[in-house]
Every structure is written in C-alpha cells, then in structure tokens.
C-alpha cells in the first residue's frame, strides 16, 4: 500500500483515474487478491454499516453502563433546528446511531477502529442516499478511505491509546472527507485537500473517555467528527485548498500524539474523564455494572 498520499494522488492524476483505482490496484498487488474480491469484501462491510445505521436509528439501544443511547433517534425524530431536513442533520444522526450500536455490543465495522466507527458510514451512506450514489460508487469510496487510513497508520497512528482521539475520530474524519469528496466527483487533488482540511480540524483532540469506556464522549465525538468531515468536503469541492499537504498534516497528528500526556490517551486520567462529573458518573455506573454481574 502507498506510504504517502502525494504519490497516490500523483499516480491517479497522471492516469486520470480516481484514487480508489490506484488504491485497489496496490491492495491487489500487495495481498495477491483480485480487485473484484476486494470489492466484494468492501461490499459486505458496506452492508454491515447500513445495518448498523438502521439499527441505531431505532433508538432503543443503551450501553452497558447506561451512559449513552437514544440520541440518534432524537436527531431523527426530535424538534427541528436550523439544519432540519438537511443531509447534515441526517449524517449526524447516522454517526450517533452507529456509535450507539457499538456501545451496546452490536455489530459494526471497525473503520478505522471501533471507537471511531460512526464517522465513515454516516458520511458515506448519508451522502450517497441524499445525492443518489449507487453501491459501486460507495464501495470505491471505501477503498479510498482504506488507502487514507493505511497512510495514517503508516505515518502516525490509528489508536487512541497511542495518539489520542485525533488518531481515531480525527483519522475517521480525514478518511470520510477524502472518500466522500471522491464519491461526489472531486479530483484526486481535491481529495487530498479534503483530507488535510478534516485532519487539521481535529489536531490535538484528546482521548478522554469516562471510566475508560468507549461511550462518552466517544458517541458524540463521532457526530462532531462527521461534522468536520462534511465541512472539509464542502470546502474541498468548492475549490478551497489547504496549504499544508495532507501527508504533513498527518505527520503533525503523529507528532502531537507522541508528545501527548498519557492522561489524554484512553486512560481516563485526564480531560472530560477527570472532571468532577466525569469521575462521579464513571464511579456510579461502574458500580451499577458490577452489581448486575
């Protein structure tokens, strides 16, 4: 797989093909699998993503601790805000939905991780539905998302324990932004800018889950991560360019992650987890969990 996006973008631009084409070719060569076979696996992932979105929107799922649940349905059925009826609100609902399913031990696609699993399906399935993109288009976009994630894994990290939430929902936002920009007709160059724009908006984001559980703020970080991805897509498709190349923004994320205090890397030692309310809720809910056992 490519180790940097600049090479992938240059190869794709030179041949006049989307990034997904060069990504699938590289994967096929690396793994000795046919492109058709890889697309089939991605198609199954897409089906699971759609099921998770649908399941979460029902609104009857709650996490083991009871800290999260029911908010996706509020975004679907609750009172209107300024974005009522837009793809934006729909994407937010979908991101909450998938992450609520995850917190309730439902089936999701870890893309790139379980903690950041809401962003990509929300953005891709939401925009595909509102813009009438067929499954083949979404599957290609998933390949592009995989390329972006592979580059992030290579250059930085995809683990909150290593790099904070910027490496999970942040990376997911970069993947979703780049993938959707291609899906909606953006050039490989625009895809690069979408990735940089999304990832720069999440730099420094810490991983501070209450009680160390993938619940709060994770569920909401997926929704705000999706919002950042949408902002990046809108800007990139409008022709906005970000002066620092995507590879260097990703490197920056890695560098910030390495210097991030351990309190902010999934240990529940800092951030929201260490607030008075965060500590109290974690203690109460974990106590409840033990009683149930």
């Amino acid at each position: 797989m490519y180790r940097n996006l600049a090479d992938a973008i240059r190869d794709a631009e030179a041949r006049g093909v989307p990034l997904s084409t060069v990504a699938l070719e590289a994967e096929s060569k690396d793994q000795g699998r046919s492109i058709e076979d890889i697309r089939t696996v991605l198609g199954r992932a897409l089906a699971v993503m759609r099921e998770a979105v649908a399941r979460g929107l029902v609104g009857d799922l709650y996490s083991a601790s009871g800290l999260v649940g029911g908010d996706a349905a509020k975004m679907r059925n609750g009172p209107p805000g300024p974005l009522a009826g837009t793809a934006f609100r729909d994407v937010l609902a979908r991101a909450l939905a998938v992450q609520e399913v995850n917190a309730a031990m439902g089936v999701i696609v870890a893309a790139p991780t379980a903690g950041g699993a809401g962003v990509l399906p929300a953005v891709l399935t939401g925009l595909a539905e509102s813009r009438g993109i067929d499954d083949e288009g979404v599957i290609s976009a998933l390949a592009t998302a995989g390329l972006i994630g592979a580059v992030v894994a290579e250059r930085a990290s995809l683990s909150g324990a290593e790099g904070g939430c910027q490496a999970e929902t942040g990376a997911a936002a970069g993947m979703a932004a780049g993938a959707a920009t291609e899906m909606l007709g953006g050039s490989p160059r625009q895809v690069g800018h979408a990735i940089a724009l999304a990832q720069q908006g999440t730099l420094g984001l810490v991983c501070d889950p209450l009680g160390g559980l993938v619940e709060l703020p994770c569920v909401f970080r997926n929704a705000t991560g999706a919002a950042i991805a949408l902002a990046a897509i809108e800007m990139a498709l409008a022709g906005v360019e970000f002066a620092i190349p995507a590879d260097e923004v990703i490197d920056t994320m890695g560098e910030i992650g390495e210097s991030m205090d351990v309190r902010y890397r999934e240990t529940a030692g800092g951030g929201l987890a260490a607030t008075p309310t965060g500590r109290r809720l974690a203690k109460e809910r974990l106590y409840e969990l033990k009683r149930k056992h």
């Binding site: 797989m1 696996v41 309730a104």
Partner: protein
C-alpha cells in the same frame, strides 16, 4: 511510486465486529478462540485472570463476555457475544473471572487463561495489542509468540535430533506451506515447544499424524483468528 507495506486496506475497513472496543472486545474474543484450541474444543472449566486495563475497564467493554464467547467458539462478529455469560451458564460451563497483576512488563491488556476439557489442562497468557491484533506470549509456561494471523500448530516434543525435519516433511506431505516455525525450550535437553504457522487450514488428520510420533507429547491446532 508504490512500495509494498504490511498495512492492508481491508485491515482499515474492518473487521466486522461486535462493539464496543477492538482491543477489549474483538481482541479479547480472539484470545479466547486461541485458548480454546489448546484443549481441542470448548473448555468445561476455565479461570480467566484479567490484568491491567482488562481488569479495570473489562466489564464495561464486555471483555468477560468476549473471552467466554471466544472459549465457546464464537467469533468477534457473532452477536451471541452479548449474551455469552448467560449462554455459558445455560451450557453448564464453569468460567471464573478474576482480577490479577501480572507484573509491570505485562502489556496493559493481558489475560491469563487456565482451562480444562476432558481431562486436558492448559494455560495461556496473551495480550490484546489494539486494532484487534493479539499476541499469545506463553503456553504452559513456554515463552511463545503466536499472532493467530495464520493457522497455527503447537506441539511439545521431547529433545530429538531431526524433529524439525520430520515435522516439516509431514506438513509438506499434507500439502501445507510453512510460513513460520519457532522453537523454544525451558532448558537444554528439555522438551521443545514448537509453533508452526501454515498458510492453509490443516486438517485434523495432520494433527493426529503428528500426535502419533513417539517423541511428540502433545499437539494442537489453533484457528486463524484474524479477520
């Protein structure tokens, strides 16, 4: 220019798994699946000692359910994981969870599983390294390095010259391609612990042929547990 690297696009878009955590749920389930192989099936009893973050946040992540499910043969995307503790009780299986400290050197997500099935007892120490990857570091006191990314055969052989050649020959006869082979022993002249990773799924008969060798004390086949 494209350079081959280890990261696969399908590792990023996947695996399909039961939430909430790739390390604490999916990885935990994989460790259970690997441990199960050491007794050749679902253990009737098991003591599961959780260390570090597994001990601290395991309950909230369903780590206990995931390991119990793995021991019963459920894979990381099996929705029965959610109810694994109830299923375990219904099946009359005796799995006990304890919190422990395995030392500062142990990875934060480490578990020690002592399990028993039909009179065979085994012990495995393994860790969940994050994004679903696992590593078994110890089997029955032998230091090992098993990832579960391939099909694995583990065996204990008496100190015997030519043992590796003999086993390699048997695997070749069975049309199995050896990916890696590692040997460890506790002391010179002592039993050797062999970990062999093969590309294809070995048939049970292969294990039986290996078991029939007079100097092989026991042999088991571990499932490939990666996505």
């Amino acid at each position: 220019m494209y350079i081959a690297a280890m990261v696969s696009l399908l590792d990023i878009i996947g695996p399909v798994m039961v939430g909430p955590s790739s390390s604490h749920t999916a990885g935990a389930c994989r460790l259970g699946l690997l441990a199960r192989g050491l007794v050749g099936g679902t253990p009737q009893s098991a003591t599961i000692e959780l260390h570090g973050s597994f001990a601290r946040t395991g309950e909230g992540h369903g780590t206990d359910k995931a390991i119990a499910g793995g021991l019963m043969g459920f894979r990381p995307d099996d929705e029965r994981l959610r109810d694994a503790l109830d299923i375990m009780e219904r099946e009359g299986l005796n799995y006990v969870f304890e919190k422990t400290t395995l030392g500062d050197d142990a990875h934060p997500n480490t578990v020690r599983i002592t399990l028993e099935r039909e009179g065979r007892r085994s012990q495995m120490v393994g860790a969940s390294l994050g994004p679903g990857r696992v590593r078994v570091t110890e089997i029955d006191g032998y230091p090992v390095d098993v990832s579960g990314n391939l099909h694995t055969i583990v065996l204990v052989a008496g100190d015997q010259k030519g043992s590796i050649a003999r086993i390699a020959g048997l695997l070749a006869d069975a049309d199995l391609n050896i990916a890696t082979l590692k040997l460890s022993r506790k002391e010179r002249g002592g039993d050797a612990f062999m970990v062999i990773e093969v590309d294809e799924r070995p048939d049970e008969s292969v294990r039986d042929v290996i078991r029939a060798l007079p100097w092989v004390k026991w042999a088991f086949r571990l499932e490939k547990v990666s996505a």
